[in-house]
């Protein structure tokens, strides 16, 4: 028995001024974990929650039981989606610095997740995104112009100026309406999946939540409903180590993995190298097969790293070593997929350079086009849009107020 009680407050291993240190992480080699059949009962799968599903080894070769079968062209499409995401975000981040938009967020280092999952899921499935899965849309060819116009809140903004930049909605691309509040759409995915099962449909749902946001009650409620009704949903935690300035330990990462939370609901919990396009792909395929076989939900933790700041309002150098990102042991997902394509003889540096140039040009021209329409404050949808869509049909209050404002 201790002398007296003490309060434990978790602390990250390093802070600004310290040398980056990831030695506390246990990173098993690629290919180490077995791949049980996707119909295996959850209680026999607990080891997958503590390990790490990895496919790509240090040389870019795919190894082990989780190696998926993917056409080389699909791999190149994945690389394209990731690269396009990276380039687009860099451009828009600069646009923010230039006052062209009010806000922006990057997903640097996490592009493999949305890209691979978007490709594995079918067009009829619905993704319930966070603000850090732009690569989902990129993989499905969402028009760059629409993104830019939304980000600039200009006259052509598909969300008519009503929503903060990057809080997209794109139903036709299987991308549910985003919002600023964290966690509260995780359960919508479960409801969607239950609706699909109710109708005897074949549409699955897939939802994302940040590791920080798993602390919200919504997370537990969604898992509970998913578990009780065997909802055909894939529930993904993107553990990028940080929640603004709070390290993952503040969300409980020093006590258990996020994948380990699945066991309490009788669900499989996969822990996956989120910077490994092939591992993301393979784990997603596994969960899709399980869901389509009416075996219910899977929780997947993607172990990754938020390489950039939280948002345009953030300077990560204030709370973590300045060069921490460069030391992340799981590397850059784009570099790793490219290396794999080269290793299997389906890509080379020259093609990559050309590729990058093409994509950069696409981004540049979309940005230019958006700028021509107008940037923040220079152009916006008609003010009357403010009063639309509160209800299906406007009630007297918005009608009167619209009149009062003269729009």
């Amino acid at each position: 028995m201790a002398e007296h009680l003490t309060l434990h407050i978790p602390k990250p291993p390093t802070r600004p001024g310290d040398a980056p240190d990831f030695s506390h992480l246990q990173i098993p080699p690629a290919g180490a974990l077995p791949r049980p059949d996707s119909a295996t009962p959850a209680r026999e799968l607990r080891d997958l929650s503590d390990g790490l599903i990895r496919v790509l080894d240090g040389e870019g070769y795919a190894v082990g039981a989780w190696t998926p079968t993917i056409e080389p062209q699909r791999l190149r499409d994945g690389l394209r989606a990731m690269l396009l995401t990276r380039l687009f975000e860099e451009r828009m981040f600069r646009s923010h610095r230039q006052g062209k938009t009010s806000f922006f967020m990057k997903s640097t280092g996490e592009e493999a997740i949305g890209a691979a999952q978007s490709m594995v899921l079918s067009p009829r499935d619905m993704c319930f995104p966070t603000y850090r899965v732009l690569s989902w849309l990129m993989a499905r060819g969402y028009p760059l112009n629409d993104l830019v116009n939304q980000i600039f809140s200009n006259e052509r903004d598909p969300l008519r100026g009503r929503q903060l930049p990057i809080l997209y909605s794109a139903r036709a691309y299987g991308f549910y309406s985003l919002s600023g509040n964290l966690g509260s759409r995780f359960g919508h995915a479960v409801g969607w999946a239950m609706a699909s099962a109710y109708k005897g449909d074949d549409s699955l749902a897939l939802a994302y939540i940040g590791e920080g946001s798993t602390a919200e009650g919504d997370f537990h409620e969604a898992l509970t409903f998913a578990s009780v009704y065997h909802a055909p949903v894939i529930l993904c935690v993107t553990n990028n180590q940080w929640a603004i300035s709070s390290f993952a330990g503040i969300a409980g990462a020093q006590e258990a993995t996020f994948a380990a939370k699945a066991a309490g609901y009788g669900l499989p919990g996969l822990r996956v190298d989120g910077n490994d396009f092939l591992a993301v792909w393979a784990a997603t395929e596994w969960a899709v097969a399980r869901a389509r076989a009416n075996l219910g939900a899977t929780l997947i933790e993607f172990f990754t790293y938020r390489a950039a700041g939280h948002s345009t309002s953030d300077d990560p150098g204030r709370y973590r070593p300045a060069d921490e990102a460069a030391h992340w042991p799981l590397g850059d997902p784009i570099v790793r997929l490219k290396q794999h394509l080269i290793a299997i003889g389906e890509w080379d540096e020259a093609r990559n350079i050309q590729f990058e140039a093409e994509l950069s040009e696409m981004v540049r021209s979309a940005a230019k086009e958006g700028e021509a329409v107008g940037t923040l404050g220079k152009s916006k949808p008609p003010v009357s849009e403010m009063f639309e869509g509160v209800f299906e049909r406007p009630d007297w209050r918005v009608i009167e107020q619209r009149k009062e404002l003269g729009v």
Binding site: M126, P158, L159, R160, R162, Q163, L167, S169, A170, R171, Y176, S177, S179, N181, S184, R185, F186, G187, H188, A189, V190, G191, W192, A193, M194, A195, S196, Y198, K199, S203, A205, G217, D218, E221, A222, T224, F225, V228, G389, V390, F391, E392, D395, W396
Partner: protein
């Protein structure tokens, strides 16, 4: 046409909608096999099968989140919250999600959900089985809030709510589930039998959201009420003999502003009633609207009769509840002024 209690009328509304529309389904705590703690869903699971009417985990936030997801998919879910007091764990889902989904997605997604909850006091339920949280919802842009006062309206409004493409909070005054209640708690309990509004058609009909009912025409004073307080108002009007116009708002969002203004302009005097505590309650909005729109017609200050600004107190239910004596006193006071 059959005489139905409010419970039977609500059950009939759900039955009609389950029958008509395969996209309608319902769920909530204990509403499946058991038929709900107030028996509103009795027999529906048996009749339509497990997946059309089922039990949920005790998780109001989860219930509403699930309903929103289903609604976005294209179903018309009807969620029951066992008591309106327990809707608060789902408050964020209702406000930040259900109410905002259509607007923020520019109409790509919306939440055509109906959230039913037994509501209000008068049953000795104590603090957490008696509250009237309608004002909290009224302030939230994007939510409709409906409160029926009799079986006919209950059925018609509930069908309208389920058919609505907007999220509707449907508050069922539990004290009048089985009979009208005028606040005379010491008198014999009444049933709905023989009440004109208990004549309820078996089939489909709607009472539109946003349309008030003038239950009694009058020239001297306008009384605005909803839910149980409609019956209290009737008693107080009768007892005072004042020639009051009684308006049952039926839904507070959308609000029938036309009916309110027309009546107030006619009478020049107003009394507003609700069970919820007074401060920043929905009566405040009604009072403000009247004052803004009928100022030059007002002969006396518009009065509010409401619950006191305390939590709902178990043993003092009848001291707290704004019964006919308090309403009558307000009516007289309003008539005496000027």
């Amino acid at each position: 046409m059959a005489a139905m209690s409010m419970i039977q009328a609500l059950n009939s509304a759900l039955d009609v909608m389950l029958e008509r529309d395969p996209d309608v389904l319902m769920f909530g705590e204990d509403i499946g096999y058991f038929g709900g703690v107030f028996r509103v869903t009795e027999g529906l699971q048996k009749k339509y099968g497990l997946k059309r009417c089922f039990d949920t985990p005790i998780s109001e936030g989860g219930i509403i989140a699930t309903a929103i997801g289903m609604g976005a998919y294209g179903l018309r879910p009807v969620a029951e919250i066992q008591f309106a007091d327990y809707i608060l764990p789902a408050f964020d889902q209702l406000v930040s999600e259900a109410a905002r989904l259509r607007y923020r997605s520019n109409g790509e997604f919306w939440a055509p959900i109906t959230v039913r909850a037994p509501y209000g006091g008068g049953i000795f339920g104590g603090q957490t089985h008696s509250q009237s949280p309608e004002a909290l919802f009224a302030h939230v842009t994007g939510l409709c809030t409906v409160i029926p006062s009799n079986p006919y309206d209950a059925k018609g409004l509930l069908i309208a709510a389920v058919e609505s493409n907007d999220p509707v909070i449907f508050l069922e005054p539990k004290r009048i589930y089985n009979g009208p209640f005028d606040g005379h708690h010491d008198r014999q309990v009444k049933t709905w039998v023989n009440h004109p509004a208990a004549e309820v058609p078996e089939g489909h009909y709607t009472v539109p959201l946003g349309k008030a009912a003038t239950l009694r025409e009058g020239r001297e004073v306008t009384v605005l009420a909803y839910g149980t307080m409609v019956h209290v108002a009737e008693a107080a009007i009768e007892e005072t003999g004042i020639d009051a116009e009684l308006i049952d708002l039926r839904s507070i969002v959308p609000l029938d502003i036309g009916a309110i203004v027309a009546s107030m302009k006619k009478t020049g005097r107003g009394v507003i009633l609700h069970e919820a505590s007074r401060f920043a309650g929905f009566g405040a909005e009604l009072s403000a609207l009247i004052q803004e729109r009928c100022f030059y017609h007002l002969k006396a200050p518009v009065a509010r009769v409401a619950g006191w600004d305390t939590p709902y107190p178990h043993a003092f239910e009848w001291n707290y509840f704004p019964g006919p004596a308090r309403v009558a006193a307000a009516l007289k006071r309003v008539m005496e002024e000027n």
